[in-house]
Subunit: 335 residues, 2 copies
Amino acid sequence: MNNNQQIVFNKVPEGMPQDDTFKYEDTEVIEPSGHEVQLKTLYISVDPYMRGRMTNVDSYVNPFKQGEPFNGHIVTKVLKSNANEFQEGDIVVGMLPWKKINTVNSQQVNKVPSTDVPLYLYLSVLGMPGQTAYHGLLNIGEPQEGETVVVSAASGAVGSVVGQIAKIKGCKVVGIAGGDKKVSYLTEELNFDGGIDYKKDNFAQALREAVPNGIDVYYENVGGEIGDEVFKHLNTHARIPVCGAISSYNHPEKDIGTRIQGTLIKKQAMMRGFLVAEFADDFKNASEQLAKWVQEGKIKTEVSIEEGFDRVPKAFRNLLTGDNFGKQVIKVADD
Amino acid sequence: MNNNQQIVFNKVPEGMPQDDTFKYEDTEVIEPSGHEVQLKTLYISVDPYMRGRMTNVDSYVNPFKQGEPFNGHIVTKVLKSNANEFQEGDIVVGMLPWKKINTVNSQQVNKVPSTDVPLYLYLSVLGMPGQTAYHGLLNIGEPQEGETVVVSAASGAVGSVVGQIAKIKGCKVVGIAGGDKKVSYLTEELNFDGGIDYKKDNFAQALREAVPNGIDVYYENVGGEIGDEVFKHLNTHARIPVCGAISSYNHPEKDIGTRIQGTLIKKQAMMRGFLVAEFADDFKNASEQLAKWVQEGKIKTEVSIEEGFDRVPKAFRNLLTGDNFGKQVIKVADD
């Protein structure tokens, strides 16, 4: 029976992904066999790094395959289980194809530790973005009490957690975001010490004034001209965890600017790109710590929820333009 | 008595330093008092980093002061000593003004461990360039046996030592240099596994063919388009000690190229700028190890010697154009 639906990688986009990047297809619901579970998709995560996978060349993660479904982190509910460790009704997360109903080996998913929190948190602070924030900041940035930490895309799923962890660690935190609403959120809701609007003409001046003691850690999410401006204020022995470069995702060939070598020497600074998977051995510890901070109210989160499986492409595009606010998820079904 | 001479920083150069960057002045010979020593300059070192000091803005080391003598590493002979720890005839090195005869506090200089080697080696492999090679490669690059190490400005005072240490550590080593003579030197004299001429049209292709297993460590001395080309071949978890960016020293404002963030993420790579002074605690160990390797014939060095105090400006400019070969020193007097 073709009463299932999936979203297939139809065409490699040039620049911003278009409608024809995505193709909706009817597909079968498959009965679980062996150690399989059948899962109903509840929430789909869209994340900026996915743009890098929409290519037919070597990318920093495996490219999506044309003609096959996209995949990403999804929160699901077990409809049927053929595996001992899961039961009907369990809430599980995993890296799964964009289908309304998936049937996969039980090893591909993990049960959520608690269902007392909104389930979409497992796609943000209690999921991959939270881990990305945690490990990039603490293991690469190594912020010390009293230091100045700057984070770009600061109201986003990763950036907002980076800044809040840095506050917990006793740092002065300045966030960069686009638009009044996001910037106010940083200082008024998240208690950042400063918020800078990169869309304003006075961005360079506002940034300079916000970091009178220079910058010790710059958590890089956007690259481009924003990054160039931040680099002017690095302190000696600054650390730059490089998580993303959203500004260039649609046009990497146009990502031209001042080369960084001179600045790195001058400041004896360190820049390191990373993928969160490097830190898999420490995911469990980080999860527990993040859950504790959320429970204690030390980490707040914001979410943009689009409703309906048909809204996935739009929600993804909102990420790349900065039109969303906080973590972007798509609610596909009630749990 | 004005029978001494010094070279003063006369004018901030635009681009390549010109004749009027340097000004020769007669000056006094000063008698040592207190804990001072009077020193006859034997060998003056000129090094690419000095271009960065010829500025009136914030630089990565203290800028030279206009109207005052340049300074740098110099090998000298003690003419008169008012300090217990030195005697007439001792050979000492230090960071000293460019004068024929210096009179300084004895704490500014150190006795060389041995005079059985050519004294100019204390300005190359047994001096600051050797330390720079050693710490940048071993402490930041952390090369492992069997890995591929690429070094630019590979026939120079730093690069040649980097490559030879990497060979000692069991790495495959590819050097980048300009011109047949330098490239032949790398493979025929220093036993590098490959030498690439960046001045040739086929540079990109030759580099690609020379690193079939990719690049694990890139010791960066030059930056610019050479660096851009090297970055295309980085392996996952590559390390890039950034020692210099010679290509941009004369025109830092024109140092424009592809931003590095995307590559660093894709390769989970680390780039770190450094100054050798960071590793001062380990200088002694490194000196002993380097001296041992030189004695065992495991590290060879090449030197370009200009003769005469009047040749300093020319020798310095040769560095920036690549017209010298190996470590550039100026012999000012016989010992």
